[in-house]
């Protein structure tokens, strides 16, 4: 008797969502994130040919080669992936864009494009694989390195870190989350919710660099992350295509309906947390970082705001595939223009 082949809701096997063999270091947090991405796209039943994978430059930015091998990918230039992703989505609004960046790629050279990507609320899942250092150039500090964090060489970081989540909330992203590459369950739930969201998803994932930043004294090590991960709530994701009813206590659990009808259930932990309130989100981010911890979970969500393409009021079909008749005005239009210039 043969074992039944596992398939998802559009009839595809998990293998279709895999990518090339990773060339990153064994144990690199980024590999765990790639695996969760594979799981999330498989479980959500996203057609791989609709997905575009984008990245900048750095270890993180290599990783799109390691998942969704049958999707188009674009490894762009350092820090400028947001603009390339924006262009791709302008050309074809039916695409599902996932951008992989790093803390250097985003926080340093790419901070300008990051800022404007967040402002536009472009539909894209923007993931920062955050290890607080430049792995590919052998371990220099990045802008998300915490004050007092120590390099292997003993050099101590004396500049304050950028909090990409706080920035994203402030700048207008409509789905802001943080997770830890070692927290499979939370990361997978957040990724699936990200796929269900229409707008800019900013997902910062603490992803330790096993080679250059996983030692005693580093605040981005596995040990430190496990110790200081402070979830704001427990995230449960129920996709729109699964007929599951969740019994929950409205006193302790908040329900958020995503753009595609999927639902996210956020079970409160120690204190009340409302992720639809910007001020709450920012306060929590600041409070946790003051304690030397990092808040994880769905930090902020605004599921209903118009995304950039809706604001641009473009036609329903992808612009890239419009026929010449649709995009070249007729003879009378040119006559009209010429007449106005006489």
């Amino acid at each position: 008797m043969s074992t039944p082949i596992k398939i998802n809701r559009i009839g595809l096997e998990p293998a279709v969502y895999k990518g090339g063999k990773t060339t990153l270091c064994a144990g690199c947090g980024h590999n765990a994130i790639s695996e969760r991405i594979i799981d999330a796209f498989y479980e959500m039943g996203v057609e791989p040919s609709r997905v575009v994978k984008l990245s900048g430059i750095g270890c993180s930015s290599k990783s799109p080669a390691y998942f969704l091998g049958s999707s188009h990918g674009f490894n762009a230039v350092h820090g400028r992936m947001p603009s390339v992703g924006t262009g791709a989505m302008l050309a074809n609004k039916d695409l599902v864009a996932i951008g992989i960046s790093g803390d250097g790629d985003t926080g340093a050279i790419g901070i300008g494009q990051f800022v404007h990507l967040m402002r536009r609320n472009l539909p894209i899942i923007y993931i920062i694989e955050d290890n607080g250092c430049y792995g590919l150039t052998k371990g220099q500090f990045s802008p998300t390195a915490d004050l007092g964090s120590k390099l292997k060489t003993g050099v101590v970081n004396d500049l304050p870190p950028l909090d990409t989540c706080a920035l994203a909330v402030e700048l207008g992203a409509t789905f802001v989350a943080r997770s830890f590459s070692g927290d499979k369950k939370q990361l997978l739930s957040l990724l699936k919710a990200a796929i269900a969201h229409r707008g800019t998803v900013m997902l910062d994932v603490i992803s330790p660099c096993v080679t250059f930043n996983d030692h005693e004294g580093s605040t981005k090590s596995y040990a430190y992350a496990k110790e200081h991960d402070d979830p704001v709530e427990e995230v449960t994701f129920v996709p729109f295509f699964e007929d599951i009813t969740v019994d929950y206590d409205p006193g302790t659990t908040q329900e958020v309906t995503m753009h595609d009808g999927s639902k996210v259930y956020l079970k409160k932990l120690e204190e009340d947390y409302d992720p639809t309130d910007k001020i709450t989100a920012l306060r929590r981010l600041h409070e946790t970082s003051r304690r030397g911890e990092f808040a994880t979970g769905l930090i902020y969500v605004e599921p209903d705001r118009d995304d950039f393409l809706t604001q641009l009021n473009v036609v329903d079909e992808p612009l890239a595939f419009l026929s010449l008749e649709r995009v070249r005005p007729g003879r009378e239009a040119l006559d009209d223009i010429m007449e106005s210039l006489r």
Partner: protein, 629 residues
Amino acid sequence: MSPIDLAVQEGQDTSRQQRVVNDFSIQIATVNGSGSQTANMVLLRSLLLMGIPASGKNMFPSNIAGLPTWYTIRASKRGYIGRKKEVDFLVAMNPETAKEDVLTLEPGAAVVYDEPLKLNTLRSDLVFYPVPFDKLVAPVCPDAKLRRLVRNMIYDGILAKILNIDPALMEKALGKQLGKKAKAVTLNAGALRAGWDYAEAHLPKQDPFAFERMNETAGKILIEGNAAAAIGCMMAGVTVVAWYPITPSSSLCESLIGYMKKYRVDKTTGKATFAIVQAEDEIASLGMVIGAAWAGARSMTATAGPGISLMSEFTGLAYYAEVPAVIFDVQRVGPSTGLPTRTAQGDLLSTAFLSHGDTKHIMIIPSSVEECYTMAQEAFDLAERFQTPVFVMMDLDLGMNNWASDPFKYPEQGIDRGKRLDAETLKKLGEWGRYKDVEGDGIPYRTVPGDGMPAYFTRGSGHNAKGQYSERPDDYVENMSRLARKFETARTYVPQPEIDRVPGAKIGFIAYGTSHWATTESRDQLREETDVKTSYLRLRAYPFNDELVQFIDTHDRVYVIEQNRDAQLLQLMRLELTPSRIAKLRSVLHFSGLPIDARSITDDVLSQEGYEVIQKTTVRMSAGSAGGE
């Protein structure tokens, strides 16, 4: 004594006694932000309505209000529309520059000036027309706040009377310029009449200049190159535009926004068949263009030199990863911020090889507003055919000045989307490799996301014919050699040069872009004043083709005429030519920020040819005050 004494040929003392009809230039010196642009455009339009070939050039400061600006209108019965070096008729409205503007005029020139400036005491060899502008404006414009703007329209009325412009046509031009703003039309028409009446009563004609009706402008349109390029982009079916404001390119995308909103919105749904995004900078602009083109859209941006510098890295990516992009470079004076509101052809060399590593880029170079329109369309075809960035090298003179032109023709042909893999081709090929040279022309087949064809991973890092990451020396060499082959293929696809061969001419001229207009006029000057015959090749694109080599081979000396300091086109040519051909090349260079003029070319060529040229003018303006010359 020289064989040719140009001063004699242009002796002004005698010629200025005779009537000069439809062949002189008017310079209007004002303060920017004072509404003078409306008055200047009305004047230019009036001449065109009279059927007189005329051109207008704005020399303005990098400033919003309060600094000197000059507008020069040239009427030329022979149809010359390049800049004329000499000013024949000055309208001096700006106290700050008036003295210097007057001191640099040729003897015999005429000056309309604001009476309190007392310019008539400066020289005795000019004709002066004092006008009390403030006194005239008060009765026609009761609202004191508007007077500053209406005041300039008075000089149009004055000029109409002195220079014999039909006042009815001038009112028609005013209506055209101001459109539906009825109140403004009434106010300004009053100012026109006030000027006319004053001139009639107080300013008897003393100068030799006059306009007379001709029939040379029937059916012509008046348009700036940027708007012409915008129309071309719309007709090419552009769908994604990303841009960042920068002088002198901004009005290209701004015009495009206007046209697209009018003609590219689906009538039934009200939705746009385009997306135009004002990006955060030029880097992001090109990034968006590349992302969109990679995903299959026709996409473009427009910028100027500083933007080109910023786009360097992305240009290299698009070259190496083979992504189409259309980039308009409306060139201005560099380096650095340079003279942002002045014209130059100074980005040729840096654009040809923009980005690090071995790169070469297609550049196409329009000379006229009509070519801005047609080449905009060709640029998209070339970008998609060659899967590479294509630069349309305009300049400020072409982009921001209004030029009279024949109306543009509707594109009869379809568009070239290049080699896109489809099911049929895939079947034929058997196995597809993104960077595989199937037909020997260096151009591979590509797929775009969502087209149902096989996916690939696009990268700016080393890759093999299948698009896989590779650092292998043989893969790298093969790929780079194919890219070079692709560039060779482009030689026959880009706009070919236009050549005018003159039998017996030993001298050849090569020019491109807006230098064309002064070049053709200079050829006439040389032929008529000295019997120097020249052939002419107008270069329209890089890479070059065989015709350039043949042109050089069939002439003894070849002058390359350019608006930059370093002979940038000549340097590009040197890279490909044999030493014996290089030895024939000479340079005519003009890089003051003002458009090149025929007389400068003529003098320079004659001097290089061994003639002794007697410069008829002295140094005309101090270094501090740009503009008048």
